[in-house]
Amino acid sequence: MTTISEPVTEAARGMADRALSWLHAHRELGGLPPDTTETMADPDSVYKPLGETTLAASLILRDGVAGPGRLVAAQSLMDFTWEQFRRGDMIYERQLRHTLMTDPLEMYAPFVRCGYRHEGLDRLLAHRSRTRSVNSVEVLPNRRLAVANAARVVGLEHAEDMKALAGATWLGAMPEPWAINWITAYAMTHTVFHLTDWGGNPGGLPPELASYLHAWLPVWIEVWREVGQWDLVTELLIVGASLEDPYCRPEDWEAIAGLQHEDGFVPRDSDPVADDPRQRFTDHQHTVVVTAVAGSIALARAAGRR
């Protein structure tokens, strides 16, 4: 029996709905510059954020707990980003040109989740997944989990042993909780995201890791709340909502909901926020994405969807 309290549900609904509205209203700011090709000098500047927006929209559609208007907005966002990627052609070209890169597969997975497919890319991904070279690229364990989960969503045949991959991560070692830092905290949250397929499969997290997180999440959330690292705090809320027995303390959820502006904007930290709309988007788009995802997952858990 999943237990998520009413105050958390209420906060989560506001967070998801308003964050989605903000992402939709500002989507043009995240568009790819004209003449962008598959070889990007700085993929983190626009390409990656576009993928994050796609991810948020895809999870809202997957979870299906938003109101009808919100689902339409999420679908519209998916259509927008799909068009930005030239209906998948750009992802295909990037994968074709850079066989060992994993970001095209990861970028494509949320589209596949919502029924968008690119025939050439499907064939290319199936081909590369059969090569020892691709499966032996040396990457950090939590990144390997990201690729494995994307492959699972896309439906590639090569299946990784997720439990073995989990064991190789920082979280898998169940380290001293006082030895965590900002970087390992993000590595830990992403390990949980991929093992649970973004909260869609709480049972994907080995029970001993779930127990470990139950013990220490309260500490980490409190410490990073104190220093106003809202982006990380919200990722930690996702982790809590993704546990089989969720850890969702109303005060934590209400703190993030209370930070959110009326239009859905959520600051990434306690530093001053720029007035320039483009700078605001660049600096804080990730936090708004995380907020939408957190809200959607908590609502789905509260509704007993999983």
């Binding site: 001293e176 909780p177 013990a215 309260p218 980490w220």
Partner: protein
């Protein structure tokens, strides 16, 4: 008139003295001589009160003999600075009581228990729902984490293993090392009691020592922690209620 800084300096000096006795780098603590030789007698007595139960640690942990003239000095420190009667200062009252209990135990004079009253029952001690606030209180009560003493605070520690471990982690992450050491001391006490812990108190203690450094008070907490960790679980003298 003794100043606040004179009191602080006297407390640090006495802490260093107790630490030397405990670690074997100094001689036995001679409280009577310490107070007699002090340039500021009132500050020296204040230091005895500030260190409280910790002044007995060489006697409890490395079995230094306790001198009757030292018992008289501890009693005199309570005359100079009477035990807390303020219900708002529950932690101070418990520390004072613990000092009185150990004073009576080591001196063999049970009337010396009377230097501090027995604290009122406190249901809040066992309530760990607000684990971070509860840990602040347990850090204040760290001098009770030693051999011989047992009572409601110790019962609360036994019932708050995970909250204490969370408190240690929180304090280290916040770089509040004095609080971290005091809470690790409770974990060391629990380990000595034979309690299973979800984190290694020895590793945490060493980490705090290396990254946080240590003033005399914190160094004393660390030394007591190490002594508790080095003792075989379950060994110790008969408990006294505190």
């Amino acid at each position: 008139m003794s100043s606040h800084s004179a009191f602080a300096a006297a407390s640090d000096a006495l802490a260093a003295c107790v630490l030397g006795a405990l670690s074997g780098t100094g001689g036995a603590v001679q409280l009577a001589r310490y107070v007699d030789d002090a340039p500021d007698t009132l500050a020296a007595l204040a230091a005895v009160r500030v260190l409280g139960a910790d002044i007995f640690s060489p006697h409890l942990l490395v079995e230094h003999p306790f001198q009757m003239q030292d018992a008289a000095v501890v009693a005199k420190s309570f005359d100079a600075f009477p035990a807390s009667q303020d219900s708002e200062e529950a932690s101070v009252a418990r520390r004072d009581h613990a000092t009185a209990v150990l004073l009576a135990r080591l001196s063999g004079d049970d009337t010396l228990r009377g230097v501090a009253p027995t604290p009122a029952n406190d249901a809040g001690l066992a309530d760990t729902a607000d684990w971070s606030g509860w840990c602040v209180r347990m850090a204040q009560l760290a001098p009770l984490a030693t051999l011989v003493l047992d009572g409601p605070v110790h019962e609360a520690a036994r019932g708050g293993v995970l909250p204490l471990c969370r408190g240690v982690s929180r304090s280290i992450l916040r770089r509040d090392f004095p609080t971290a050491v005091r809470l690790v001391r409770w974990l060391a006490w629990l380990r000595h009691e034979g309690v299973e812990l979800p984190l290694d108190p020895g590793l945490a203690a060493e980490h705090v020592f290396l990254v946080g450094g240590a003033g005399p008070r914190t160094a004393l907490d660390l030394a007591i922690t190490r002594h508790l960790l080095e003792r075989r679980p379950g060994t110790g003298v008969k408990a006294a209620h505190a």
